[in-house]
């Protein structure tokens, strides 16, 4: 089934009876060439690009819950390519280009909206840092424009420019940044992979990884043993637990990050805005809800909910930046499990010493925008056993050797600093 304007029109006139399921809800076969553990954004995009770019379709994606029920369905949907460090910037630049062609490629409306992202700054020092970042973005071939105070006022007249403590000096504008419909990204990749023959197996929890003589042989699951020549761990916040099944510890600590949504409002915020004072960021969904969040709670957690101090901090930051949102009612808040690495950058690598075992993790609090390029590069690694040029620096051994640490924030390579 392909989507088209004509199809929508025809279905609309005939009672919408012709829509079918978007993907096959498969049961596992006893053996595959490749098994991908984790049916979230990254796992599904890996399966999709394995099939599309490398012609590999004897693949199963194993998901312990339902497809897209993890972080891909629980994030604040921001898509951007405003990274500074070499290694990160070419990767996210590639990802943004994939986003720009994603709807045509998948024949699926992921509601990618390049509404522009503005990172505000509040001091001369922050301005210098953002000017430098903007130049790096332009050097990478992406877009960036330094706005002064009046430039920001023109776009965002509703901010509180007069407050004394954190005056708005300007902002770094990234016009191609924006948002996308998070669930649709999972569904679109799922459909694309399934149509090409990939088995998507839900309610199938991996309970063990079979390794013999340094070679991966398959996985134990709640639906029985599944043999495979190659196995990928793509499980975000649960990476430490699944790697533990292979006897490995990872440079990952799982933390909780909270997010918030208000009741639906008329259009009021046209961009994605981030506030340099307290890591507050906000956008408005197409449904009208203000979607916003802030920093990690800053302690290891799998609870998928946070504590009150960070809620209070986020609300305070929001009110400081744009007092007009004070009367909006928060409908819900939630917490996601973030796979935090010491340097804040991800890992796409082979598991050293276990042939056929691959890992894609460490997306910290920025995994959503990376979904296309992560799948692209992970598929390349699994299919060819060579690191893709765009993800060549996402190696796990950078922590042991100290070579190639990518500390984007410049705060240090240590677990409690990102």
């Amino acid at each position: 089934m392909r989507f088209s304007g004509l199809k929508v029109l025809a279905e609309g006139l005939t009672g919408n009876k012709g829509w079918a399921a978007h993907w096959r809800d498969a049961q596992p076969k006893p053996e595959y060439d490749m098994v991908i553990i984790g049916g979230g954004g990254h796992g599904l995009s890996t399966a999709y690009y394995l099939a599309k770019n490398h012609g590999m379709t004897n693949i199963a994606v194993l998901e312990k819950g339902y497809l897209g029920g993890g972080n891909v369905g629980r994030n604040t949907t921001i898509v951007r390519a405003n990274y500074f460090l070499q290694g990160n910037s070419e990767f996210y630049s590639h990802s943004l280009k994939l986003w720009e062609g994603l709807e045509q490629d998948l024949n699926y409306n992921v509601m990618h909206s390049q509404r522009g992202l503005i990172n505000l700054f509040h001091s001369d020092g922050q301005r210098d840092a953002f000017a430098r970042r903007g130049n790096m973005m332009i050097n990478q071939g992406d877009d960036a424009e330094l706005l002064d105070r009046e430039g920001v006022r023109k776009k965002l007249p509703y901010l509180d420019f007069e407050q004394g403590r954190f005056p708005i000096y300007g902002g770094l504008y990234h016009p191609r940044g924006g948002t996308a419909r998070h669930d649709a990204v999972a569904w679109g990749y799922a459909r694309g992979a399934s149509d090409r023959g990939v088995d998507l197996v839900q309610n199938c929890e991996v309970t063990g990884i079979d390794i013999e003589g340094g070679f991966v042989k398959g996985v134990q699951t709640s639906k029985g043993v599944i043999r495979a020549k190659k196995v990928a761990i793509v499980v975000a916040g649960r990476s430490g637990l699944v790697a533990g099944m292979a006897g490995r510890r990872l440079p990952i600590e799982s933390h909780v990050l909270q997010a918030f949504v208000t009741e639906g409002l008329k259009p009021v915020i046209d961009h994605v805005i981030s506030f340099g004072m307290g890591h507050f960021y906000i956008s408005q969904s197409d449904k009208g809800g203000l979607v916003f969040g802030g920093d990690l709670d800053f302690y290891a957690s799998y609870a998928q909910r946070g504590n009150l101090p960070m809620k209070e901090h986020v609300m305070e930051a929001g009110m400081t930046l744009m007092p007009m949102i004070g009367k909006a009612k928060v409908l819900r808040s939630w917490g996601g499990i973030m796979d935090m690495t010491p340097d804040g950058s991800p890992i796409i690598d082979k598991m050293e010493g276990i042939d056929g075992l691959y890992i894609d993790c460490g997306w910290n609090y920025g995994g959503f925008k990376a979904v296309p390029a992560s799948g692209w590069c992970m598929a390349h690694l699994m299919a060819t056993d060579q690191h893709h040029d765009y993800a060549a620096k996402f190696r796990m051994d950078r922590f042991r050797t100290g070579v190639g640490i990518m500390d984007e924030e410049g705060t240090g390579s240590q677990h409690n600093l990102h």
């Binding site: 637990l241 290891a300 799998y302 042991r400």
Partner: protein, 90 residues
């Protein structure tokens, strides 16, 4: 989540600075291998369930505290002074 400082009693979370896994108390020898140092500095068990981590009572008495808690429920099971644990193990 509130933490009980052995000196000051039960306090608001905001008074504490989170350092990370209490593995920080088991520092390897200076001439240990890079693998051991990597394991100490970066690699974590990262359990879903009971864990021990190190907190600093920054907004209070300045004590380093080992907190035993559950990462799934946020229940705090036990708090001890890091200095006591170090002395006991010395």
């Amino acid at each position: 989540m509130r933490l009980t400082c052995p000196h000051c009693g039960e306090r608001d979370l905001r008074e504490f600075y989170y350092q990370g896994d209490a593995v920080a108390l088991n520092r390897p020898d200076p001439d240990a291998t890079d693998v051991e140092w990597d394991d100490y500095v970066h690699n974590r068990d990262n359990p879903a369930g009971e864990t021990r981590d190190l907190w600093y009572h920054e907004g209070g008495c300045g004590a380093w505290i080992v907190v035993t808690r559950n990462t799934v429920t946020h229940d705090v099971l036990c708090t001890e002074l890091a200095s006591d644990l170090k002395e006991a193990s010395a």
